[in-house]
Structure formats: C-alpha cells, structure tokens
C-alpha cells in the first residue's frame, strides 16, 4: 500500500498539470477543475491497490477526470449549453494547455504568494501539506489561500486562454516573478531548514524548464532558467560545515555543480540567440555566468559585471540593484569608486534597515584602510541582520577588524566639522550607553519618554550602538533624520528634532543637531462657524467666565493644559501673576489677572477650575480634586476640551499657538 501511494504521487507529479489543464479546457473554472482533478487522484488511490497500477497511469487518470467533468456539467444542468463544445474538439488537448494553466495560476489579480501556492498546487502537483511545509506554514493556511484564489479568479473572469499580444509581456513577467519567488523561498533559507527547502528550488527549476519549453521564443523565460540553474549550481558551496553562510568569493568553486552550470550556459545562449534588448532575468543570468566562468574569485571579470549591472539598473532602478552595482564597481574600479556609489544610498528610506548596506560599506571602508569606520559599519550591519548565522558572521568580522588594528579607535580623534571635541561630557560613552542613560532620567513624563525613545531608537539603529558619542557628526544626525523622517509630517519631524536637541544638550554636545531645523507647520484650514483669530475678544467675553479665564490663562502662559487644570487656589500668587505647578512656574499677564479674582469669588482652597456638577456620590474622588467649599469636582481635560471645541471650533492646544499671535 505505501508503495502504491508513492507511485500514485509520482504519476500525479508527472501528469497533474496536463490533467488539470484538460479539465480547465472543459470547465473554464479553476474551482471545479482543481477539485475534479483531486477526485481523480483519490480514485487512483482507492482502485490501484486492488487492480494494480495500470499500464498507462497518466491516461487512466485523464479518462477518469474527464468522465467526472462531464458528470459535473450534467449535474450543473449546463449540458445543453456546453454540449456543442463537448462534441467538437473540446476534449482534444492542445500543446500549450499547460502554459495557459500557468497564466491562470499566476494571474495578476492574485497576490504573489497566493500565485506561488496555486502554481505549486495546479502546475507542479504538490499537495497542500507539501506546500505548507515548504512555506513553513500550516496546511489550513495554504488551503485557505487556494480557496481564496479560486474565488478571486472566478470573480475576475480569468479565462483559459493565452493573453493577447499586447498583454503577453506583462503576464509573462508575472509568471516569471512567481517562479523566481518560489526559487528564492527555497534558496534564501539557510541552516536549519535545509532539509525541506531544496524542494522549492527544485520545483521552481522544473517549472522554469517547462515554461521555457512551452514559450521557446521568450528570451526572459530562458534567462530565468539560466539564472536559476547557475544559482542552484552553488547550493553545496553556499554554507560551511557549521551552517555559516559562505560569500560568493570565498566559496569552494570545486563544489559548484558543473552540470547545472552547463545547463545555465545553454539556457543563456538560447536567450541570446533570440536577440532583442536583454531583460532583467537575462542580465542577471549574464552576471551569474560571469561568476561561474571565473576559475577563482580573483579571475572574476568585474568590469564586465559592473557594465551588466549598469544595464540592469537602467531596466530595474531599485536600491538593491544599485547596491550590487556599487559592489561590482568597487572591485572593477577600486573601493573609492564603489563607496561613491554606496554613500548616496544611505539616505534611501527603502534600505534603512537593510543589513547588507552597512555590510557592503564596511568591506569598502576596510579596503580603503578606514578600519575604524569599517568596524562601526560591521557592527551596525550585525545589529540589523535578522539571520543568526549572518549576525554572528558580521560580528566576527567587526572583531577581526578591531584586533587587526588595535589602535584603530584612536582615529576617532579626527573630528569632522560640526562636532566639538573635548566639549563633550559623555565623550567616552558610546551612543548606546549615552542613550540608555538619557532615557533613564526620572524627571520625564511617560509620553515624553516614549517619544524620546522612538527618536533614540532610530539614531541607534542607523548609527550603531557601539559608536562613541564623540565620533558622531552633525552630518550623521542630519542624514539619519532625512532618511527616517524626511517624508514625515512637519509635526512628526519637529517632535524628533526636539528630542534630538534635548539629547544633544543633555549629553553636552549641542553641535550634534546643528544641521537640524524645525519645519513650518502648515496653516490649518480655517474652521467654519467661529473666527477665533479675528475679534476673539468679544467671543471670549461672550463665553462663560470659567471658559474665558481658562482659555486666557492657557494662551498667556503657554503652559501644558493639564498643568493649568491641575492648579489649586492655594498655588496661586495673584500679586506676582504666577503659580507653582509641579516643578515649574506658570505665569500670566493682564487678561488672566483681570479674570481670576472673579472666577475665584473668594474661594481660598481647592481646584481653580471646577466642573459644573457635583460628582456622583458613588464615584470615589480624591480630596485633592474636590472643592472643599462647594463640593464640586475639578474640571476634567475631556470636558474642557469638549467645551472649547463647542464654543470656538478649536482645540485647547491650539489656543497656545493663536494664529497671528493674537489672543
């Protein structure tokens, strides 16, 4: 029985694409086509143990599947409508049926990962459990994804036909993208998973080879096959015995699979023979071939690779391609040329957490003899790497940089413009230590602390925890800000600038934020109904006394609203127009001075601003929040805000920044 099961699976893997395609030709609907194909598979599992494996198992499965499809059509009472099609040539398989199937399973209406799952199921004949194992998820997730895909395809009216010529290129690139995604899902995984994942690279290669045979005139299909064959040829050399990734130029080229390399060469030749402008896959394959042709890393034709990357960048101008090009240029024309291309990428938000960027910089800096900076970049790369093995590798490189240049740290005495060496109080501390100490202050409010922590986290991630504070330049800070928050709202930008300035001042190096300036807040759209900024005096006068006093005090003092609301009568120093609120003084001017005595009306204790109503007896209230004379509670922030919005159309905090400076 287990043997039969394995045989059925084997036949299924070889035949399912053809069978599902034939069913699509009959039913024109992915849902039933796929289900009936599964029915046929179940039928084989039930019958073959008793009858033995038929002489032509593929034909047996196809016959069963088609018979059930016809039953399905009859049951759906669509037979009359479909009869003519059944009679003529509908049952006749077409050579490009599997290609049509690929266009369906890689339909652009589906998200890429769903396309990948559906393709593995319908074209490669994998079971949901196998797909789940390969994608490190559960069978339920895959089944749900496939069911969802069927629904989307039915809704999108996806047709079982080859795309029209004007759509062909885009649809084909969708198929290629899915195959490469499947390939990379397997190829990018490293130690730990390597028992399962090679399955995926093999499936992707197999599907790619099928596609290249079905679409022999498409250069990009051959290009993708060439790329995958050559990348797969390096599988055995990519990890060391302890699972640590081995970089291309350190790999033992004797472990590269010559058979796959030769197949890659052949595929690329076929692509080139077709002519035309080379597309992204052909270019990437050509780069892979350059590496494969070099007998040793030193023999690599970097000039050619740099040229190919330049062409690739024109076609696919992504930051990652730019970074790769910089690596090639770094080898072809020297580390400085490479660094010149890498540095502009530092401000690219897409790469801000990409560990390879500091990794590449570190390599280039090391070759330039800028060891201290190289070490810092290796550490930063390690901090960003998510793969454990990779992180360990980067830390090792950082350490070896250090031991090779024991006095490297002393180069930090060189201070570019913008910092003030010797002025710093925390000069010996690293950024990480300084930030920790800064955030450990106990005089900050929770919200402020949270905000500061955000700012500091970004600085630490971008600049590196172990960087001495004294080595940070105003340029570094400005660059971090431009990358992280250059596109954020002005208010967000200003919040981070304020936090950075506080930190810079606290750490005794205010020059750090010398290049940062706050942005102007956009004018708020005028609120309808009430014009606060013009003729606000009548409004204020028409408002109830309490509101009028509160708003005036907030406007004149600029103090935090909750501080103002927390004031008690006994805190007030009416004569000197000031009051003690926690650790700070709130001061006001004549407007408030005029209104306060009327508001207090002789009260000597308790909250200055009182709610209208007495508290509900069942609600416990701290004595501090109740007026001992009237029994009324303290005006709450929510209520004050509500009333302000009701009467003026503005928020309380807007009163602190009155337009045109009026109040």
């Amino acid at each position: 029985m287990p043997y039969i099961r394995a045989t059925v699976d084997a036949v299924w893997r070889l035949e399912s694409a053809r069978i599902v395609a034939a069913l699509m030709r009959l039913l024109h609907d992915v849902g039933p086509a796929e289900e009936i194909a599964q029915d046929a598979l179940v039928a084989a599992l039930e019958q073959w143990p008793a009858t033995g494996v038929p002489d032509n198992p593929g034909a047996w499965l196809t016959t069963i599947a088609k018979r059930r499809a016809v039953d399905h059509i009859r049951r759906a009472r669509r037979f009359e409508e479909l009869a003519p099609r059944l009679a003529v040539d509908a049952l006749e398989e077409q050579p490009d049926d599997v290609l049509r199937l690929m266009f369906i399973s890689c339909h652009p209406a589906l998200p890429p990962r769903t396309r990948a799952a559906l393709t593995l199921r319908m074209v490669a004949g994998l079971s949901a459990a196998e797909i789940a194992r390969a994608f490190l998820t559960t069978e339920q997730v895959i089944l749900r994804r496939i069911a969802e895909a069927k629904r989307v395809l039915a809704e999108a009216g996806a047709r079982f036909e080859l795309p029209p010529p004007e759509e062909l290129a885009a649809r084909l690139s969708s198929v290629l993208e899915v195959l490469y995604l499947i390939f990379n899902e397997g190829y990018a995984a490293t130690a730990g998973d390597d028992l399962l994942r090679p399955e995926l690279t093999r499936e992707a290669l197999r599907l790619g080879r099928i596609l290249a045979e079905l679409a022999p005139d498409e250069a990009e299909a051959h290009g993708l096959v060439a790329l995958m064959e050559i990348q797969a040829s390096r599988s055995a050399a990519r990890t060391g015995p302890d699972g640590v990734p081995v970089q291309l130029h350190d790999q033992d080229r004797g472990l590269w699979d010559p058979l796959l390399i030769r197949r890659g060469f052949t595929a690329l030749l076929r692509a080139r023979e077709l002519g035309g402008t080379p597309g992204p896959y052909v270019l990437q394959a050509a780069i892979a071939v350059c590496h494969a042709q070099a007998r040793t890393a030193a023999d690599t034709d970097w000039a050619q690779i740099a040229t190919l990357y330049e062409l690739l960048e024109q076609r696919v101008p992504t930051p990652v391609v730019r970074l790769n090009r910089a690596v090639a240029v770094g080898f072809a024309r020297g580390p400085q040329a490479g660094l010149d291309l890498v540095d502009p990428l530092l401000t690219d938000p897409a790469l801000r957490d990409f560990h390879l960027l500091p990794g590449v910089r570190a390599d280039l800096l090391l070759r330039l003899g800028r060891t201290a900076e190289a070490r810092r970049e290796f550490e930063r790369a390690a901090g960003l790497a998510t793969n454990t093995a990779e992180r360990a590798f980067l830390l090792k490189r950082a350490e070896s940089t250090n031991t090779a240049n024991r006095d490297a740290l002393s180069t930090y005495t060189h201070h570019p413009a913008g910092t003030a060496p010797g002025e710093t109080t925390a000069a010996g501390a690293t950024l990480g230590e300084a930030a920790d100490a800064f955030l450990a202050r106990d005089d900050l409010e929770a919200a402020t602390l949270r905000s500061y922590r955000q700012t500091m986290r970004r600085l630490r991630r971008t600049l590196g925890d172990r960087l001495p504070l004294s080595a940070i330049t105003a340029d570094d800070v400005a660059r971090t800000f431009a990358t992280a928050w250059g596109g954020a709202a002005p208010a967000t930008w200003n919040r981070h600038v304020a936090a950075a300035r506080t930190f810079a001042a606290w750490s005794g190096s205010p020059a750090l934020t010398g290049q940062l300036s706050k942005k102007d807040l956009p004018d708020r759209p005028p609120k309808q109904g009430v014009a606060w900024d013009t003729g606000n005096a009548p409004l204020r006068e028409s408002a109830p006394l309490r509101e009028s006093a509160l708003w005036t005090l907030i406007g004149e003092s600029g103090a935090p609203i909750h501080h103002v609301l927390s004031l008690n009568v006994e805190d007030l120093d009416l004569e000197d127009r000031r009051a003690r609120a926690g650790r700070r003084w709130i001061t006001w001017r004549s407007g408030t001075a005029r209104l306060l005595p009327r508001l207090l009306a002789g009260r000597t204790r308790g909250p200055v601003f009182l709610a209208d109503r007495r508290p509900v007896p069942s609600r416990p209230l701290a004595d501090a929040d109740r007026c001992p004379e009237t029994g009324r509670r303290r005006l709450s922030y929510e209520r004050a805000e509500y009333l302000c919005k009701q009467l003026t159309g503005r928020t309380l905090s807007e009163l602190k920044h009155p337009p045109n400076g009026q109040l």
């Binding site: 045989t7 070889l14 399955e199 197999r206 790619g208 080879r209 099928i210 079905l214």
Partner: protein, 107 residues
C-alpha cells in the same frame, strides 16, 4: 533527488521507429523539466584496475555484452517512485531488456 538510469546494451540493432520514439520520449522528459542529461555509450570500453600501487589499463570489450551499459539518463525528481515511473515508460518504448536505477549523491 537525482537518479541515474543505466540501460544494458542489447544485441538487437535499433530500428528507425525506436529512434523516433526514443527521441520523442527524451523531448517529453526535457519538457517536463526532469531530464538533466542523457546519452548513449560506445561498446568499446577501457577498463582500469588498481591493485596496491599498480594501476592496469585494459582495452574492452566486456566479456558479456549483457553486462555493458548502452545508455544513461540523469533525472532530477522528487522521489524514487517518480524515477521508477520514468523507467517504466522508457522500458515500454525500448522493449525487452534491463535498466538499473540508482540514486546519485551530491554535489
């Protein structure tokens, strides 16, 4: 996984129809993305033996033609059963004879 399928040579000379069917089968296996390499082997063989430090080179042919490999196919598939299924199809085309399938380890 990779499997090497070796087919033993037969005394029967292959006719044109067999060549055509073989060609079609090879094409199909290539199109399915499973066939990595294939080829026929010349009957002339060289045997190299080593005993201790001594290496001896002897010209073939083999004593018995039935022992000699006439052709091979290297396939990449997901399971042994898949390789067997391919072997069954192949045997159905070529008629009487014998093939051997072995898994290939590395690289």
């Amino acid at each position: 996984m990779r499997f090497l399928m070796m087919s033993m040579a037969t005394d029967e000379p292959a006719d044109e129809q067999l060549y055509a069917e073989m060609g079609k089968f090879i094409q199909e296996m290539t199109a399915k993305g499973v066939l990595l390499a294939t080829g026929g082997l010349a009957p002339e063989a060289v045997v190299i033996t080593s005993v201790g430090d001594e290496v001896t080179v002897t010209d073939g042919p083999f004593a018995e033609a039935r022992e000699a490999v006439g052709g091979f196919a290297l396939v990449e598939v997901g399971s042994k059963e898949e390789a067997i299924e391919l072997g069954r199809r192949f045997r159905r085309i070529v008629g009487d004879g014998r093939s051997v399938i072995q898994q290939v380890f590395g690289p």
